[in-house]
Symmetry: C2
Subunit: 271 residues, 2 copies
């Protein structure tokens, strides 16, 4: 991981997730959490009023590949004891996005003023965990090598709806040689809690993706002639469904500014 | 499995491997063993004089994907107790091929007259086991649906040589939709003793295969536009290396006429 990722902070590469959370809680600026405490699970965050949370929970349950739930709070309680003893979901992310009727209205670093006793927080697995597992096995990821965000695409594959939540499956794409693609299926199959095995590989048109050079989110990354594009379900899927549902209030992590948990990536491995 | 496969014999679909071996031992004709006692492991057989067997054993050890060894006999002993209490490798296959200096000189149904006290028998895992596992999970295999032999190709990938044994990796090809290809990687990864995970998928030219409609062995099978060709290491690889080495005497199973063992396919599953 490039050292420039830590330039904003006095903490070092060896800092624990709890130490990072403490700095965010204290207001220390940090643009994103990629590469921080990299053996530990990071999560996508969605916070909704209870009136919307029940449908959203069913949406996640029905779409486990894009929406693998790591934890859900009690209504009104910002704690997530299964992910870290001291976690306070109102303060512990480096940056949040506040959405009203599906429009982003603010990017605060603290949401205590917005918290209510009917708020429910969801933590959804993130591909950082399986990317670390892939790199640990010697598989090079081009977007990491090039210090870009992963390329993400809206597909023609629908998710299963629940109440107001519906929309297309969003996928990430990583170009891999065939032998690495086979290894990547094996490795990511061990991690169902962070999107699991690929949902597609090969011809992007078969899932309604027509131009790999124009991702819907993130950065484009080249696919070499000897490579296959390999597609995984992406945690942007529930966020897209959320925005499309236009709840009066929703709070999410800002892009790349995830919840850092105390769980180790390898604790998520299924076998 | 089509009932025509059993037309030559009074045994039924429910017959055990031991019952099938007894009929072969008694001289009952049977062209091939595909689909017989299909929950049980079948194996490729190679029999060599001890002077050649040691190199061949090292060749298998160095190339475990095409040459997964299920069992090796003691020199001069035709028993394989780990695969079936009563197995006699000299009589229990429906048909053999006898090779002298790499040329097939006979196709007997019994090799007792050729057996010597320096003969060593090798049993090598066969894709029938993983094909059954794939079909049990609902994955359709076109060559099975079309009652053809699987398509096999000599690749540009070399095996690791040992003594006189060397040659290209031979692969089988099965066309699959991407989602089934991902499942097939997961399922066959559980079966390292019968070739394990695919060695390649996608563009055949990358492994030196230039025309999928012209297999080097077996029958051609169509790849539809929405499918990927998926390639597994094949038990023909050691046989090709064997014939190229031109030992003075070698005995193998006749194509499709495998050793039927008492082991269940699912006993081979790694997890």
């Amino acid at each position: 991981m490039p050292s420039s990722r830590y330039i904003n902070t006095p903490l070092t590469r060896s800092a624990s997730p709890a130490e990072w959370r403490a700095t965010f809680r204290a207001g220390q600026p940090q643009s994103h959490t990629s590469g921080l405490a990299e053996r530990h699970v990071q999560g996508n965050v969605v916070i909704l009023p209870k009136a919307w949370a029940d449908d959203f929970l069913r949406y996640c349950q029905r779409n486990p590949k894009p929406c693998p739930l790591l934890a859900v709070t009690e209504p009104g309680d910002a704690a997530l004891p299964s992910l870290g003893a001291d976690i306070d979901l109102r303060t512990d992310l480096p940056r949040y996005r506040v959405w009203r009727e599906g429009e982003c209205v603010d990017e605060p670093t603290d949401i205590r003023a917005l918290w209510r006793d009917d708020m429910v927080g969801f933590v959804i697995g993130c591909s950082f965990s399986f990317e670390q597992a892939l790199m640990d096995e010697g598989i090079r990821l081009r977007h990491v090598d090039q210090r870009r965000n992963v390329a993400m695409f809206r597909t023609a594959l629908p998710t299963v709806s629940a109440g107001p939540f519906s929309g297309p499956l969003v996928v990430t794409m990583r170009p891999l040689k065939a032998a690495d693609a086979v290894r990547a299926v094996q490795i990511t199959s061990r991690y169902p809690a962070v999107h699991g095995a690929p949902v597609h590989l090969g011809d992007p048109a078969l899932i309604g993706v027509h131009d790999l050079s124009r991702p819907d989110y993130g950065d484009a990354v080249e696919v070499m002639p000897h490579e296959l594009p390999v597609f995984w379900a992406c945690g942007v899927t529930p966020q897209a469904a959320l925005l499309q549902a236009r709840p009066p209030l929703a709070i999410t992590h800002a892009p790349g500014a995830m919840l850092m948990t105390d769980r180790l990536n390898h604790e998520l491995a299924a076998f």
